[in-house]
């Protein structure tokens, strides 16, 4: 009887659930399985068997070593880290200032400012490309890391401000009243009371932002020309041109590019999902 009630609640019968889910996940992940197998085969094996989903006969781990060292994947990964980490930290800190103002102060343009932040994050990037290039060039930060980082920080402010402001509004106002009566300044309240309460939501935001900025292709394409500065997405796109027929190396390169966001996702999955549903927007 207890079992019957449970089944009613959940809807899908247990057997159906396992059969359908196994099939679904298997089909959905075929592309990734093919990538893993391809990255571990020699070119001879790929050309002779012609079946991309076959398990490698000889596991060629040296493909990863070659791509990392000879093809220069290590440099691209390092460049991506140099771009991504300061961008995430910067956008979190700066957006928390704006979110605080929008969450706790009543002023005439409050709603208008919020709408501007939200609308900005949804517009097509093509509207920004030429002017941002020109601006960066006139400031002489085109083709430099700070140029890309500053852009990412600024552009991601839209989503982060919206996200943090929504979170801060749930903080009970009474928490702010005591320090207020004690004569604490607004900035002290922000740093001492609000920021510590936002740690978990900022962690969720950091996971999302890290993935988005890590995966960015377009802005590196526009703002970085020199090969020495290219991030892993752009390096991989170039590699496809250069090593067009070395499927095993491109596969190994793809997996290296995917590995860090993947590890991040697996470690912080709960935050990742929370972040996506709170804002209901993505990049």
């Amino acid at each position: 009887m207890a079992e019957a009630v449970r089944r009613l609640r959940v809807g899908t019968p247990r057997v159906t659930f396992y059969v359908v889910c196994t099939l679904l996940v298997a089909v959905w992940l075929i592309p990734l399985v093919i990538a893993v197998f391809t990255s571990l085969k020699s070119m001879d094996e790929i050309m002779s068997s012609k079946v991309m989903w076959a398990v490698p006969r000889v596991w060629a781990f040296e493909n990863f070593v070659r791509v990392w060292a000879e093809v220069g994947m290590s440099r691209y990964v390092l460049n991506t880290l140099i771009i991504t980490i300061p961008s995430v930290v910067g956008t979190l800190l700066i957006s928390s200032l704006g979110a605080f103002a929008l969450a706790f102060y009543r002023f005439r343009l409050n709603r208008a400012v919020l709408v501007v932040f939200v609308a900005g994050m949804l517009i097509p990037f093509q509207m920004l490309m030429i002017p941002v290039f020109r601006f960066s060039d006139s400031l002489r930060i085109i083709n430099t890391f700070p140029g890309v980082i500053l852009f990412h920080v600024a552009f991601q402010l839209g989503f982060c401000t919206f996200f943090l402001r929504n979170f801060m509004r749930q903080i009970p106002y009474s928490l702010l009243e005591a320090p207020r009566i004690d004569g604490a300044s607004d900035f002290t309240i922000f740093v001492r009371i609000i920021l510590p309460l936002c740690v978990s939501s900022m962690a969720a935001l950091a996971v999302l932002e890290f993935t988005w900025i890590w995966n960015d292709l377009l802005w590196s394409l526009v703002l970085l020309q020199s090969d020495a500065l290219k991030p892993v997405t752009l390096g991989l796109a170039n590699m496809q041109g250069e090593f067009i027929s070395n499927y095993n190396l491109t596969a190994a390169g793809s997996l290296i590019a995917a590995s860090i966001p993947l590890v991040f996702f697996l470690a912080f999955q709960r935050y990742f999902i929370e972040g996506l549903t709170v804002g209901a927007v993505k990049g």
Binding site: L32, Q126, K282
Partner: protein, 292 residues
């Protein structure tokens, strides 16, 4: 809310974020709108005002209509397929069986990958000789259905959209799962006791309750479909113009053909099309707050 009494305090907090946003996002939008009325062969110098001529040229440019048509295909398929699929899969996952979490984690994986990685991987699926898709078709005795997926103008756009959908479905599913969290199980149970069929339950109980999630999922999918760029760039290298969408058409016009005014005009059209959906999304998002 009501914290400080001095009017300038919130503006002091907003100064840095607003200034950065104004410089890198708002001013560029205005600038692009101005550039759309100019002719400019160098990105930095020599803009000449030419009125509406860029737009007139667009409306007699077959590539523009091709991009527009392709974008329309992206938009329609991005709403028609990921939204019901995401809902179906979310309902499938909406239980507490053992292993549920693991299945979900695996299913989410594509969302964490960059389009460069995704494009690289899918290029092998579509490879005409030993790609998985054609091998599969030959294997099940349908060799007549094999195609040059990325080489044939007729199939290219659809091959790219399929890749986009592959990544979009898990995302829509997340939105629906969050929506299902708010559906009281008693309601669904009550309709089960009534003897309503699965389809009736879906139509009369679940779908109305999930309407807000559906609106968000659809709007986001539309906005995403209009922003499609990375997949097209990586998988066709924008050389094969048959798969061009507005975003990639703008990129190649400006950055390959150094036609910056023309590129800006394309961006403005793209912006105008998206704008309506953005307004709709914002009014939906804030409606509940205004009612409070």
């Amino acid at each position: 809310m009501r914290l400080g009494k001095r009017w300038w305090v919130p503006w002091a907090f907003l100064a840095l974020p607003l200034a950065m946003y104004a410089i890198w996002v708002i001013a560029p939008i205005v600038e692009s709108m101005v550039f759309a009325f100019t002719k400019q062969d160098s990105i930095m110098y020599g803009a000449r005002f030419i009125g509406l001529r860029n737009f007139a040229r667009l409306f007699s440019d077959p590539t523009f209509f091709l991009a527009l048509r392709n974008n329309l295909a992206w938009l329609i398929l991005f709403v028609l397929l990921p939204v019901p699929l995401g809902l179906f899969i979310a309902m499938l996952f909406n239980n507490s069986y053992g292993g549920n979490k693991l299945y979900k984690t695996l299913f989410y994986l594509p969302m964490t990958l960059s389009f460069t990685v995704i494009g690289t991987i899918w290029a092998w699926i579509y490879h005409p000789d030993f790609g998985a898709l054609n091998s599969l078709l030959r294997g099940v005795g349908l060799p007549g259905l094999t195609r040059q997926w990325l080489g044939d103008k007729r199939y290219m756009t659809f091959a790219l959209i399929a890749v986009g959908i592959w990544r979009q479905v898990p995302y829509v599913m997340i939105l629906y799962l969050a929506g299902l969290n708010g559906v009281p199980p008693e309601l669904v149970e009550a309709s089960m006791v009534d003897g309503a069929s699965w389809l009736q339950r879906l139509r009369h109980v679940v779908l109305p309750l999930l309407a807000p999630a559906t609106v968000v999922a659809m709007t986001i999918s539309v906005i995403d479909s209009l922003r499609a760029f990375d997949i097209v760039y990586v998988m066709t290298n924008t050389k094969a113009r048959a798969a061009e969408v507005l975003a990639s058409f703008m990129y190649s016009s400006a950055f390959h053909y150094s036609d910056y005014g023309y590129g800006s005009a394309i961006a403005v059209i793209q912006f105008l099309i998206t704008f309506g959906f953005i307004i709709f999304y914002i009014s939906r998002t804030f409606r509940s707050e205004i009612e409070q």
